[in-house]
């Protein structure tokens, strides 16, 4: 593994002969009786990335293989200058390396979709919010480079303002995980993690270029990083991304005004010595997203017309990169400073401060009728939210088999609206303290954590032309108990139970008006209580012969689950009737299973099957919960092959996704019945091209190959248009080594 340990129980498959070998206690293995020639070895170890090695065998050959570790991280901890990363007792899935490369050019939400259990709540093809086990928005936390990402998470069409190119690794922790990162993480945590800054004298980089046929989009991203030879300890990184895409095409028509223009950059400066480390990081995200005007609806009549139409009103437009009204203009900046200090052997102190500023401007379909107002061309919705977070954490490594973390955090948040009122101005102060300890033995790891949070929410808004300033205070405890059982080579079990909570959000308390992008009147409820979840997760990793199985079972029991309850009577406005939704609370449960089975019993061929099942129930109403993902199944074939010395790591992949119809929906709560299930076919071909010393990773992928006409239940555009049609993507990744002293 990455720490150079000898790995026993590693399965080595000689692909040419389809014969297997297992390493002994010292991580050794031998194959005898081979003829001279070229052979491919597939090397697999629990917790490591499957690796294929090509080797030439002449008489007696020796081969030493270092395996990169991967999604199922069971590694020991490298404590020198790294943060103490504990293997989570919760189920954690990672996307990195080749798997991450395959998602390049996609939004963060879509990239995460490759993880079983993660779906997205979409607004067309360009806005997607990640959903873990059916929970999204405020119920999941996104940690961007270690910082709680804070924007306007409440809106279903508010996608996370993060450039996925900053990440070298995306991790998804499924299930309640509030103890370490603060309240709100009822559904899980998404970690967007950049690579560590380099620690040897070098200047390296990477250029990514992606082109896609649907939307005729182009994305370019570059990263450059180095370690100063002369200034010992200093390292740096700069990174930037530009993306432009135009009108998206469904199998039958283009969707007007669905382009995106995005530019992002980030930089980091670090200072790392044996005992002391410091890092500053800054990132900025800017996007302008066109909204399909046919989905920017008025009253119930307009909605019915849109839903009954064969083709949406604004479908005739051809291709264009132009973005007009309605659109969103979003900016997010993050500045962060971090210090850590190893003040004693095995003890480490970490302090971190971050400043985030998020600006969201939404422009309605039409300018105001008043000429002088129209001339200003102001956004109809305009929010600015400023968040400052501070964190202090004390960590200790193995002391008599105990490892632990203790800490406290503070957040101050200020929200201001400048356009139409929908959510109020507020000042939010939160502080929390936590402690977690873990006991580690050869076969068992036991963990327990406890956290206390207090939150004060001071809001300011006008009610009947009078300024009101309600102040609310919430406090509660989060905890978790977990265990990992490692039965030697072939079986690992993860157990976790815990509780997390979140206070009602300002939109749930005070919103009052037409939520334009939803086309409904939403009414907050001032008397909402905090929402609490009890979560139990069980995961088994099993390796039998050539079959690797990862199965997760989970159950979430909610008290005071906050949801939008439709009112039976639409409300009349001067614009006609609008449906009304009121925020309410109920006891609810969500449970399900994620299963992934991978096998490579065939030569060069890897077969993967995934299933995701979810059931959600409102216990007070004895009915289903709305907007939950339906069951889905994915199959994947990967064929690895040789193609001469200029082409390595060649693969062809075929994938097939079946999303079932979501018929488990509450009655009379939705504008329209859920759409039918659908099946999509895709492929990808990739290779690492070698030109002298330079490698270029090239891949071509196709999605929705059969140009299937479909609508997805979790896409808000499903009321108005079909989903995106066939799309081909070409990806080029050029790793650069400008200078390396090694």
């Amino acid at each position: 593994m990455h720490d150079g340990k000898e790995l026993d129980g590693t399965v080595i498959t000689l692909l040419e002969k389809n014969s297997n070998y297992v390493t002994n206690d010292h991580g050794r293995f031998s194959i005898s009786g081979l003829c001279e020639g070229n052979y491919s070895l597939l090397i697999q170890h629990l917790g490591c990335k499957d690796t294929i090695i090509k080797t030439m065998v002449k008489q007696n050959s020796f081969l030493s293989v270092k395996l990169p570790h991967s999604e199922i991280e069971l590694s020991e901890i490298d404590i020198m200058d790294k943060r103490l990363e504990m293997v989570k007792t919760q189920t954690t899935d990672e996307i990195s390396g080749k798997e991450l490369d395959k998602t390049r050019g996609q939004t963060l939400g879509d990239a995460l979709k490759t993880v079983t259990g993660v779906t997205t709540l979409n607004t067309g093809g360009t806005i997607s919010k990640p959903m873990i086990h059916g929970l999204q928005g405020y119920r999941i936390l996104i940690l961007n480079n270690g910082i709680r990402h804070e924007g306007q998470q409440w809106g279903n069409e508010h996608a996370p303002e993060i450039d996925p190119f900053v990440a070298q690794k995306l991790s998804v922790v499924k299930g309640a995980n509030s103890v370490r990162y603060g309240s709100d993480a009822l559904g899980g945590v998404i970690l967007v993690e950049p690579a560590d800054l380099p620690d040897t004298a070098s200047v390296t980089g990477e250029v990514n270029m992606i082109g896609a046929s649907n939307g005729q989009s182009g994305t370019g991203s570059a990263i450059l990083q180095g370690y100063f030879d002369k200034l010992k300890g200093f390292n740096w990184r700069v990174q930037g991304t530009y993306k432009k895409s135009g009108n998206v095409k469904t199998p039958e028509y283009y969707l007007k005004n669905t382009g995106v223009e995005e530019y992002n950059f980030s930089y980091a400066l670090g200072y790392h010595r044996k005992k002391l480390g410091a890092e500053v990081y800054y990132s900025q995200f800017n996007t302008k997203v066109g909204i399909f005007p046919g989905a920017h609806i008025g009253n119930l009549t307009d909605l019915q017309n849109a839903f009954n139409a064969n083709k949406p009103q604004d479908s005739l437009a051809g291709f264009s990169y132009d973005i007009g009204r309605p659109y969103q203009q979003i900016g997010h900046e993050l500045a962060k400073g971090k210090l850590h200090y190893h003040f004693a052997p095995k003890w480490r102190l970490m302090a971190q401060y971050a400043y985030q500023y998020n600006s969201r401007q939404e422009f309605d379909k039409d300018k105001p009728l008043n000429d002088s107002l129209a001339a200003l061309n102001l956004p109809e919705l305009d929010y600015s939210i400023t968040s400052q977070t501070g964190e202090l954490v004390l960590e200790h490594d193995n002391i008599k088999r105990f490892r632990g973390q203790f800490g406290g955090s503070y957040m101050n948040q200020q929200n201001v609206y400048l356009g139409r009122f929908f959510i109020p101005n507020f000042i939010n102060n939160t502080w929390g303290a936590f402690a977690t300890e873990r006991f580690v033995t050869e076969h068992w790891e036991l963990e327990a954590g406890l956290r206390y949070d207090e939150k004060q929410l001071q809001s300011y808004f006008y009610e009947n032309k009078n300024l009101v300033t309600p102040s609310l205070k919430f406090n509660n405890v989060s905890w978790n108990i977990g265990a990992i059982y490692k039965q030697g080579k072939y079986l690992n079990l993860f157990f976790n139970i815990g509780s997390a909570w979140r206070s009602p959000a300002p939109n749930e308390l005070y919103s009052n008006g037409i939520h334009q992008s939803v086309g409904a009147i939403e009414r907050g409820n001032k008397n909402l209580l905090p929402e609490q979840v009890y979560n139990a997760t069980f995961t088994a990793l099993l390796k039998l012969n050539h079959v690797f199985t990862e199965a997760t079972l989970y159950h979430n029991q909610f008290t005071n689950f906050i949801y939008l309850n439709p009112s039976t009577k639409p409300e009349l406005t001067i614009k006609g009737a609008y449906p009304v939704f009121n925020y309410q609370q109920a006891n609810a449960r969500i449970s399900g299973a994620d299963v992934k089975v991978t096998t490579d019993i065939f030569n060069h061929l890897k077969v993967t099957a995934k299933a995701m099942l979810l059931r959600a129930w409102n216990e007070d109403l004895n009915d289903y919960l709305v907007y939950m993902p339906s069951d889905r199944y994915t199959g994947e074939l990967n064929y690895y092959f040789n193609a001469g010395k200029h082409f390595s790591n060649n693969f062809i992949q075929m994938n097939y996704t079946y999303v079932t119809k979501q018929w488990r929906v509450p009655q009379n709560t939705d504008f329209a019945a859920p759409p039918e299930g659908y099946r999509l076919l895709g492929f990808e071909i990739g290779s690492d091209l070698k030109f002298g010393k330079q490698t270029i990773n090239l891949s071509i992928a196709g999605n929705n190959l059969l140009d299937v006409i479909y609508r997805d239940y979790l896409d808000r555009f499903r009321y108005y248009t079909d989903a995106m049609g066939r799309n081909f993507t070409i990806r080029l990744k050029i790793p650069l080594t400008i200078y390396d002293k090694k």
């Binding site: 410091a278 379909k365 009728l369 201001v416 139409r420 008006g513 009349l572």
Partner: protein, 217 residues
């Protein structure tokens, strides 16, 4: 000492870089000082139907009013100068065999002074049209008959487009025989049809959609 020097130089470089990139909106108020409702974007609060009896020149006004805009408190049917009696009642009466010159007035009363939005609708007449009981008008000038009440309605204003079409802000209403106490539904819709106006109700979005009831007796 050396470490301290390095750290501080790191911080200085970082803060220099940060000062280049932080950007805040200029007009951002403090959170404790939220934007008052009359400062937010445009909203149609009032729909007025002003009807002049061609014979007597008496003016009757019927209206629907939602003072705080959509959402918030519900709107109400406002006091007319004739039989529109209670504030929740949307019924008004017209005399038989009479011609009324009718004007629709749209106001944003959250603004001070009050913003007359119907004026802007007239200016953008090529993008706007009123429809009565969802019936597409025919002929030249545009006209239609409201089924039930039998009222014959003629568009008397024209937009500046080619061909010129009616807008419906100004109409002439001709009533015929009395229909007793029967309350005939009267739905009035303003459609915003930028670039798609074709004399039918189908294209565009709804800017206004109000429902009255009419008796002719």
């Amino acid at each position: 000492m050396k470490t301290l020097f390095k750290l501080s130089s790191l911080l200085i470089t970082a803060s220099l870089l940060l000062s280049l990139s932080c950007k805040k909106k200029k007009n951002e108020p403090a959170p404790s000082n939220p934007l008052p409702p009359d400062n937010t974007s445009e909203v149609i609060t009032t729909f007025k139907l002003s009807m002049t009896d061609s014979a007597t020149s008496s003016v009757y006004t019927f209206m629907y009013k939602d003072p705080d805009g959509d959402g918030g408190q519900a709107g109400f049917y406002g006091p007319g100068t004739t039989s529109l009696s209670t504030q929740s009642d949307s019924v008004f009466n017209l005399s038989p065999n009479t011609t009324y010159f009718t004007e629709i007035i749209l106001l944003d009363e959250t603004k001070s002074p009050v913003d007359t939005i119907s004026g802007e609708v007239e200016e953008e007449g090529q993008d706007h049209m009123f429809f009565f009981n969802s019936t597409n008008p025919t002929g030249s000038p545009y006209s239609l008959t409201l089924s039930g009440s039998g009222i014959h309605l003629t568009y008397t204003d024209l937009d500046g487009g080619l061909p010129q079409r009616g807008i419906g802000l100004k109409t002439r209403w001709r009533t015929y025989a009395a229909t007793g106490t029967t309350k005939h539904p009267l739905n009035i819709v303003l459609k915003h049809q930028p670039g798609t106006k074709n004399g039918t109700i189908t294209p565009g979005d709804t800017d206004v959609d109000v429902n009255f009831k009419v008796t002719v007796q």
